[in-house]
Symmetry: C2
Subunit: 443 residues, 2 copies
């Protein structure tokens, strides 16, 4: 029998929150003054501000600027307890969560485990591509890009050289578009100065999108502007195209064409991360847990789900809200308020999503934004959208020190056309050693 | 036969610098306008500002603030070539250096490979202790400290708990003293807020020094003041004491006593890192290469050594200068000037060391400094020494952006009594899994 994890017993009901992403973090904060014991479980000791991961990957900002230790965020919240642990399964009858540090009893369980990269079942791609979902992914991409150029200096063979200097990004959502934009900025302003011995005409950036448009879910105007900006920046767009296979060197497309690269970046979608022991027969939608308008997982009284993992079906969004930061943040805050109502025996309020629109930045002075203010949509592109994007993201960072440091980094990069964090530390992706690829392999 | 590394052939003589520490970096800079081709070889793509590694280890500053990509430092120096590679051996007859990327011809070879941690031949300590010489070490220590506290929350057994919460530092030089000071600051101001469930009375910091005094090489006044500050901060000092063995759990001292810790930090000394193929029969001193007053390795015309690896014997320093930043920086600059003289067929100048003194910071407002100005020594302690330490180290950082970011971090930490980078990312040292240690193991 698994031992019990040591957490102080409290007379107050215990709310166990599984996952400290946007949803879990906001919920824990919202329960600050609630008469409950809050226990947050996460595999890592920090929250990740995912929207800026691509800037870590492209050496624009320090990882520590977008990672916040949970204990620091909550160091003045007495009802908050954190445990760094991996959840293994749940026994909903006994109200017990099994984790890597022992079992944890709960009165209320909130599943906020979020989503993970969706490789659509392709194990080889999963093994050989770089995802863009966690800080380890971002650092691996940074290390891989820089290591590739260091290796390229020793290569004469053209196919080999291209495989090191070309980058293929799969997925035309915000992450893919922002990465492609950031890489093209680096190709223009930074890499030629760092590597005067390499010819950056050889560096191709491919962006592959399964559908006919980029930035699905945004306005046609935003989509076509993003396409234009990327094409002007020299990014090669492959619309209505899918990747069939990748062996660490050759990307086979379903159009019959193929691309050579050692760096395939997979930003093609996400899928829910489940917890063993939960009765899924009650229904899932697109690999997410079906929840009622109060966030309850179908079939349970005291198990809730919020954020990416929760599919809350509404008329406007029959498949649930988009798997993005905004619905997660709002659901976290709202569920916190509902818990306080619940404990006062008041009526619960159904969730109402306040769509504030969405944006993507593509390069220097260039972004697209569909803003929703009091129900009206304002579409804007170019410098204004870029400025709004910067302001909104800066203000979303946790802590004044982080805002200041990121602001300095951004201003510095803006005026010097340079970023400072082109370091190779830690893991990188090395699928096929350069020496092992001969022309035969390529044919 | 190893292939030749691809580096542009130049009509100018090629100076190959092995190692981009303080000595190699300053030499490469000093050769900016010299009629030579500069090829810098380093295993990493960045220079490490080692004096502040202990602040990375204690979560005070970002790694990127003390790491500078070589390519960025030299992006406007046309005669500079960088290769990320490991040197394997040298053939001084053929003037060829063998490296992990192929062989490299040289006209002049400068060995600036520095020093590595000295475990005095104890392989088990080498395997189980954490060194404090590279950024990977510093990050491993940061991860280990934080992981230990997360684990300690699940432990009731007193011996187990102490093994996780106690830290043993070996070596009473600047690194050991500064680490002990920083850990005691964290124990006082930061950790109790982060881990309100742990009792930090249980956290012991031990500092072990083989000799009778801390900060060997500094004045008696500095040494005794450092001792007093550390004792007041609750650091347990073990003078005239050596570590005999460490199994990942138990530190056996030569006094017969033993300490239990999962974290042994080894800052007990450094030793030169050699290069195969060099005729060492000509003499080494304390595992360093003997060089003449012009930096030439004994027995060679065109092989030089500078920095920690070079033992330049003088009347005042028969064993060579101290293995510290200052002699390395000055030798790098001086050898750069001498190369220009050499190429103009002028007389070479022997090296003259300008000792500017040394300092160590021990905590908030507390430091010791022996400053040498125009040959006179000024000894100062307390707030003034601390302020001078901060100013000197801030100004030594490369790049205005880094100075600004570190300054903000330091000011922030000073006024909020908090630092922000308590993240667990990447490797940590796990010698003995908690589960495997029973009371039997300890007895």
């Amino acid at each position: 029998m698994m031992p019990e994890a040591l957490i102080e017993k409290s007379e107050k009901p215990r709310v166990v929150i599984l996952g400290g992403g946007f949803a879990g973090l906001e919920l824990a904060k919202a329960l600050r003054r609630a008469p409950v014991q809050v226990v947050l479980i996460d595999r890592q000791n920090f929250h990740t501000f995912q929207p800026l991961l691509y800037q870590v990957a492209t050496a624009g900002i320090e990882p520590s600027s977008i990672l916040y230790p949970f204990r620091k965020i909550f160091d003045d919240q007495p009802n908050f307890y954190f445990r760094m642990a991996e959840a293994q399964s749940v026994d909903t009858d006994k109200q017990i969560l099994e984790t890597s540090i022992g079992y944890i009893e709960y009165d209320y369980l909130v599943i906020a485990t979020g989503a993970t990269t969706n490789f659509y079942g392709n194990a080889e791609i999963q093994k050989k591509a770089i995802a863009m979902k966690a800080v380890e992914d971002a650092l691996a991409l940074r290390n891989t890009i820089l290591t590739n150029f260091e290796k390229a200096l020793q290569i004469k063979d053209e196919i080999q050289l291209n495989s090191l200097m070309d980058f293929v990004i799969v997925g035309g959502g915000p992450t893919g578009v922002e990465l492609a934009g950031a890489l093209s900025e680096l190709r223009k302003h930074v890499f030629p100065k760092d590597y005067p011995e390499l010819n950056f005409v050889n560096m191709d950036i491919h962006l592959i999108q399964s559908g006919p448009q980029l930035l699905k879910g945004m306005s046609d105007q935003a989509a076509s502007e993003a396409k234009e900006i990327l094409e002007q920046a020299g990014v090669k767009l492959w619309l209505n195209c899918r990747v069939k296979s990748y062996d660490g060197f050759k990307v086979q497309l379903d159009t019959g064409e193929s691309l050579c690269t050692r760096t395939l970046i997979w930003a093609a979608g996400v899928t829910g991360t489940f917890l063993d022991g939960l009765d899924r027969s009650m229904g899932t939608t697109g690999n997410r847990l079906k929840v009622d308008p109060y966030g309850r997982v179908q079939g349970y009284e005291n198990v809730f789900a919020i954020g990416d993992i929760a599919a809350m079906s509404t008329e406007e969004h029959p498949e649930g809200y988009a798997m993005m930061a905004q619905p997660a943040i709002q659901q976290g805050k709202w569920l916190g308020k509902n818990f306080r109502r619940l404990l006062r025996n008041e009526d619960l309020q159904p969730f109402r999503y306040n769509d504030q629109g969405s944006m993507a930045t593509i390069g220097r002075n260039k972004a697209v934004a569909d803003l929703k203010v009091f129900g009206k949509t304002y579409k804007t592109q170019g410098f204004r959208a870029w400025f709004i994007w910067m302001f909104v993201h800066l203000m979303s960072l946790i802590g004044f020190r982080n805002r200041l440091v990121v602001f300095i980094n951004w201003m510095w990069a803006y005026f010097t056309y340079d970023t400072g964090i082109r370091l190779i530390i830690g893991k990188k992706k090395e699928n096929v050693p350069v020496e092992e690829v001969t022309e035969k392999t390529v044919v």
